[in-house]
């Protein structure tokens, strides 16, 4: 275990990002998909913070990470609202059921 550099953080963020992407691609449960997106955003945040510390040297990354969190909150809110609305009408949270429109 050598020194932990910027690259390590970036590797981790990439891994987390694509785990999240995998969740979006693989899972059917809309809640899990939503959480996977959250994980992706967190991976992005990690990248921002790591860059801020080891590359840019400014705190801009921190601010942006804050904005991303705010956005994540907003998205979570709206996403859950849509989910609730959908659940009321359809009683399902499976993405695979959302196929009324196709072709």
């Amino acid at each position: 275990m050598g020194e932990v550099t910027l690259n390590h953080y970036l590797y981790l963020s990439a891994i987390l990002f694509f785990i999240g992407a995998f969740g979006v691609l693989f899972r059917q449960n809309l809640l899990v998909i939503l959480m996977s997106v959250e994980l992706m955003l967190n991976a992005v945040n990690l990248s921002f913070i790591a860059f801020a510390r080891h590359s840019a040297g400014t705190m801009d990354g921190h601010v942006i990470a804050f904005f991303v969190m705010a956005l994540a909150a907003a998205e979570a809110g709206i996403g859950l609202a849509i989910l609730v609305m959908l659940f009321r009408n359809r009683t399902t949270v499976q993405a695979g059921d959302l196929t009324l429109m196709r072709d």
Binding site: G96, L98, T99
Partner: protein, 680 residues
């Protein structure tokens, strides 16, 4: 010398008078088309007959004037306006009359007028009376334009015009679809010839254009041909053969003769005027007109002669077995036209034209006589249902008989002189290999005998022999009105006497006709020493005039006697079969068996054309082109593109599964692609 300009100024009247008649009668016909009754027949007859008669009068006046002119100056000319003007193609609407055209004009207007008069009787009571005269007048216009045209395109106008009128008149009784089909057949077969004619014309045009003076004017062509001999000689054979194919179409020669027998579907005066006396001779006229080109193409001339001879004997043989009186005459016409081509083919232009003139008289008379018979028998045309009509239709019988003798070539009637001149010219000709003229002569002689046979077969079956007339027909049987008999008489008289215009020197004649046409044909009589025949032998092209100089008069007289004997034998044989031993004909027929059937069915030539050209052509057009290429391949590709696009659409829409993760998956794949492309 008389100033010819006022005379030339009269030229336009000749074609325009019938044109005016055609328009007037045509309008009358159209105006009355919706009504119960047609227009007044007298008025129509008046217009219809006055027009050709006026032309005839002008022609006669011009003829008189021309006779008074020096032989070389015998030309009337009148340019009406510029017809086509495009770059080097400058074609005037110009009329031009020389001795040859004048001869034709006399025949056309003269015989034409008589037939018009005859028609007033023949067509009496027909619903299409006015229409008929309109067409007939239009025909006169076209024929006169053909004859008087100064240049080939204008000649082509007449050429096509007569074809059109022929088409219209054959299909005159269009109610029977067969008549209309016959008209169409005539037109289309003619068009095949016209196709070749056009190309022949183009060849001549190219020659003149390359010489820097693009023209199709006949006199100019003639002048240029005289000067630029080499240039013309190079293409002369091709041009001549092509033009001759055109003539084959119009003049019903092998292989394009098939339309003429069918053309008998038209009213009989039409058969007389168009399909015997005038239009069908246009081919002969055209070749005579362009003699200076044919002079340069001995090979082509040989072809003309051979085809003419072949047609002559071939058609005559078919004439043997026909039952329909008009068909007999039709094949006879084909055969006689073959004779004329034989003549022009061996360079005996004057003889050919002379035969054309005499033929116009006796064949018109024969047709009109036949028409009179048909008229009398209420439309019956089968000779085996006639007989003994000489008792009922004296005038008709007599005139018919005179013409028959004339065509059979019995002296001193017209046919004898013209036919004999041809045979004599052929005998002396230098065409093709040395044996060819002799063969052609034999063929011509045989044809003469056959002609005598089948014509008299018709005479005997119709007017003599056994009375086979049906009961109803007999009831109405009558001699035709004077309007019909009068022209018969005039024509028969003509058939009897016009021969004297061409009495050969051998028997003390002066051959007036020949001298009259000399300026037209003489200029080139062997003048250039073109090679004759298939080989390289150089010698003068033979024309009748030349033949006279080195043929011996004695031999000529001997040949005359031979031909008269042959003709008489033909007549006697016919008498034997159809008058003296009525059963013999039938027995003879049975003996011949299959051959008779073959001949009776015209050697199945029509069927051959039908099977070999028409049906395969239609099948190719329909199955191969329309259904396979057009609807199948081209449309298939066009629609296939559309269908492919839609198929793609249909398959791509399947990707649109509605499942979110699929969508996300494609996004990720797209992202991978972007990364791959950008980072690589």
């Amino acid at each position: 010398m008389e100033d010819i300009r006022p005379m030339s100024n009269l030229l336009w009247i000749i074609p325009v008078a019938p044109l005016a008649g055609a328009v007037l009668n045509g309008l009358l016909a159209l105006i009355y088309s919706g009504r119960e009754k047609g227009p007044n027949e007298r008025l129509v007859s008046l217009i219809g007959c006055a027009a050709p008669l006026l032309s005839f009068a002008v022609v006669v006046r011009l003829f008189m004037a021309m006779r008074g002119m020096a032989a070389e100056a015998r030309i009337f000319e009148s340019t009406l306006f510029t017809w086509i003007a495009a770059g080097p193609v400058q074609i005037d609407f110009a009329y031009w009359v020389d001795a040859l055209s004048m001869t034709m004009l006399l025949v056309v207007t003269g015989v034409g007028s008589l037939i018009h008069i005859y028609s007033t009787g023949y067509m009496h009571g027909d619903r299409g009376f006015a229409r008929f005269f309109s067409y007939l007048n239009l025909f006169m216009f076209a024929m006169l334009t053909l004859v008087m045209a100064k240049n080939l395109p204008l000649l082509f106008v007449g050429w096509e015009g007569v074809g059109l009128c022929s088409y219209l008149l054959i299909g005159f009784w269009y109610k029977d679809i067969a008549n209309a089909a016959a008209g169409k057949k005539a037109f289309i077969v003619n068009r095949v010839g016209d196709f070749a004619f056009l190309i022949g014309m183009f060849i001549l045009f190219m020659v003149t254009m390359n010489l820097g003076n693009a023209t199709l004017d006949v006199p100019e062509l003639r002048a240029m041909a005289a000067v630029h001999h080499e240039a013309f000689a190079k293409v002369a054979v091709a041009a001549c053969i092509l033009l001759f194919i055109g003539a084959c179409g119009k003049s019903a020669q092998i292989p394009l003769y098939v339309w003429l027998p069918d053309a008998m579907a038209g009213p009989t005066p039409v058969s007389a005027l168009i399909h015997a006396a005038t239009m069908v001779t246009a081919g002969v006229y055209m070749i005579a007109r362009l003699n200076f080109v044919y002079e340069m193409a001995p090979a082509a001339s040989a072809v003309v002669a051979v085809v003419g001879a072949a047609t002559a004997i071939f058609a005559a043989s078919i004439g043997f077995a026909q039952r329909d009186i008009k068909k007999v005459l039709a094949y006879s016409t084909v055969s006689q036209l073959g004779y004329m081509f034989l003549a022009v083919g061996v360079g005996a232009y004057a003889a050919g034209v002379f035969h054309l003139v005499t033929h116009a008289f006796f064949k018109a008379c024969l047709f009109l006589g036949a028409g009179s018979v048909i008229h009398g028998l209420s439309g019956e045309q089968d000779m085996f249902r006639m007989g003994q009509l000489s008792k009922h239709m004296k005038t008709t019988w007599l005139t018919f008989l005179i013409s028959a003798i004339a065509i059979a070539g019995i002296p001193p009637l017209a046919g004898f002189f013209s036919k004999d001149e041809i045979l004599w010219s052929v005998f002396n000709a230098h065409v093709g290999p040395a044996w060819l003229p002799r063969v052609l002569w034999v063929v011509g002689l045989a044809t003469a005998g056959m002609t005598a046979f089948y014509v008299f077969r018709a005479v005997f079956l119709t007017f003599h022999g056994k009375d086979n007339v049906s009961h109803e027909a007999k009831h109405h049987l009558h001699e035709s009105p004077p309007a019909m008999t009068m022209p018969l008489i005039v024509l028969a008289a003509g058939a009897a006497v016009v021969g004297c215009l061409g009495v050969p020197a051998a028997i003390g004649g002066s051959n007036i006709f020949h001298h009259w046409l000399e300026p037209v044909f003489a200029g080139h009589a062997g003048g250039h020493g073109v090679g004759v025949g298939m080989g390289a032998s150089h010698g003068a092209v033979t024309i009748a005039a030349a033949a006279e100089s080195h043929g011996s008069a004695q031999l000529e007289i001997i040949l005359m006697i031979v031909s008269v004997v042959v003709a008489t034998a033909g007549i006697l044989f016919a008498r034997l079969l159809y008058v003296q031993m009525p059963g013999a004909a039938a027995a003879f027929t049975t003996r011949l068996g299959g051959f008779y059937t073959l001949v009776f069915n015209k050697y199945y030539i029509d069927e051959l054309y039908e099977r070999a050209i028409v049906r395969p052509g239609y099948a190719i057009a329909d199955k191969l082109m329309f259904r396979l290429i057009d609807a199948g391949i081209i449309e298939g590709i066009v629609n296939g593109l559309g269908i492919t696009a839609r198929l793609f659409g249909a398959s791509f829409r399947l990707l649109q599964s509605g499942v979110v993760r699929t969508y996300a998956f494609f996004m990720l794949m797209g992202f991978l692609y972007l990364v791959y492309e950008l980072v690589r």
